[in-house]
């Protein structure tokens, strides 16, 4: 269950950023989790709720964008969707495929509530 330690590091990063921005709380977190990143978004959301308890990010709404896996053939250069690392080029049948998208794992942005004076 690496999602828990990952959730904790997300909370740590966004709380630090929110403090820097002088936020009263974090109401939203936008994540980019590629389909080949090895992360289960549902599991991560579940862990996030526990990890964020008692922090500025408690109750923050998580939105996840999941880019599809895209492979590029090392032989003929064709680009095509892939679900796994062991894809085969639909054009030339080569197995020398480079993953060019789908491994992203980023905190894109956070939505913060500013303090009133």
């Amino acid at each position: 269950m690496h999602e828990m330690s990952i959730a904790l590091s997300i909370v740590e990063a966004i709380v630090a950023k929110a403090r820097e921005e002088g936020a009263a709380k974090v109401s939203g977190v936008d994540l980019l989790i590629g389909k080949l990143a090895g992360i289960e978004p549902e599991s991560l959301k579940f862990c996030f709720a526990a990890a964020a308890k008692g922090t500025l990010a408690e109750h923050a709404l998580i939105t996840v964008e999941e880019p599809e896996g895209v492979g590029e053939c090392g032989e003929c250069g064709k680009r095509f969707p892939v679900n796994f690392y062991y894809a085969e080029c639909p054009q030339c049948r080569s197995l020398r495929i480079k993953i060019i998208s789908g491994e992203e794992f980023l905190i894109q942005s956070i939505t913060i509530e500013e303090k009133g004076e």
Binding site: M1, H2, S5, I6, L8, S9, I10, V11, E12, A13, I14, V15, K17, A18, R19, E21, A23, A24, S27, G28, L31, L36, G38, I39, A50, A51, A52, K53, G54, T55, F84, Y85, Y86, L95, R96, F105, L106, I107, Q108, S109, I110, T111, I112, E113, E114, K115, G116, E117
Partner: protein, 260 residues
């Protein structure tokens, strides 16, 4: 657990040396809990971060890597499911490798110093990281552990990760190469079932080949599966029990260490 931010600090990580003292790995953790007393909520706004979730780990990993590079320490990260023979393999090759260059070991397990005790018996510096509930080693744990080890210049450091084919794949430790080990008592489709791990690996060692006559395991098929997931994988077939195939792997390793 820290009750302000909910983080678990060191995550219950404990470093142990066989026969030595116990240390809690909390040096790297910073806490900064300021209290703000504002009572009016203002407007909300979006703050762009574009930050890699694993940034902190990756920065630690690069820091480790720089240290290893400066001292010419060749580092291998051994990964496998529990019971595929990581420790046995180390026990078998370390005595021979020690004749050529200094060797040190970092052992990762949830609990016990059993593996570190086995390596300690060989007379090499070893430290055990107990991850508690953690399922993988991360770069900051290795950073703490390596400071406790008396690492020599121009040496080999073997990091035996927690037995797990899923989580450790995501965490760069600062190693030169990742070595994944499978044994013939597992399935030959393992590379397809755990593609992330095999995709990340540089070397694959098939262990327990002495048991091939007794199990249904297709070596060629397994190798093909592994190569489909990771095209540049170096492949070795060994038995830590009988010693078969170990010379080839050892020779390859010696070359890498002396050239690094």
């Amino acid at each position: 657990m820290c009750d302000t931010c909910g983080c678990s600090g060191d995550g219950g990580v404990v470093l142990r040396k066989p026969g030595g003292s116990v240390e809690h790995g909390d040096e790297h953790h910073e806490h900064d809990h300021k209290h703000h007393h504002h009572h009016h909520e203002g407007s909300s706004r979006k703050v762009v971060m574009e930050q890699d979730v694993l940034l902190k780990n990756n920065l630690f990993a690069e820091r480790n890597r720089g240290y290893f590079e400066a001292r010419n320490i060749f580092v291998l990260n051994f990964l496998s499911s529990p019971g595929s023979g990581k420790t046995s393999l180390l026990e078998k090759i370390i005595p021979a490798l020690q004749q050529r260059f200094p060797v040190a070991v970092i052992e990762g397990d949830q609990q016990t110093t059993n593996d570190a005790d086995r390596i300690h018996a060989l007379g090499v510096p070893v430290i055990q990281i107990n991850t508690g509930s953690g399922c993988h080693l991360d770069a900051s744990m290795v950073n703490l552990a390596m400071k406790e080890l008396d690492l020599q210049d121009n040496s080999l450091l073997c990091i035996e990760n927690v037995g797990n084919l899923v989580c450790p794949a995501l965490f760069d430790l600062g190693e030169a190469l990742k070595v994944v080990i499978i044994s013939v008592t597992e399935g030959d489709d393992k590379p397809l079932k755990y593609p992330t791990m095999f995709h990340e690996a540089d070397i694959c060692i098939l262990n327990k080949i002495d048991l091939l006559p007794y199990v249904e395991f297709d070596v060629a098929k397994c190798r093909e599966n592994a190569m489909r997931v990771s095209h540049n994988l170096e492949w070795f077939e060994v038995s830590a029990t009988t010693g078969e195939g170990l010379a080839v792997w050892q020779e390859w390793l010696e070359k890498r260490v002396s050239h690094s």
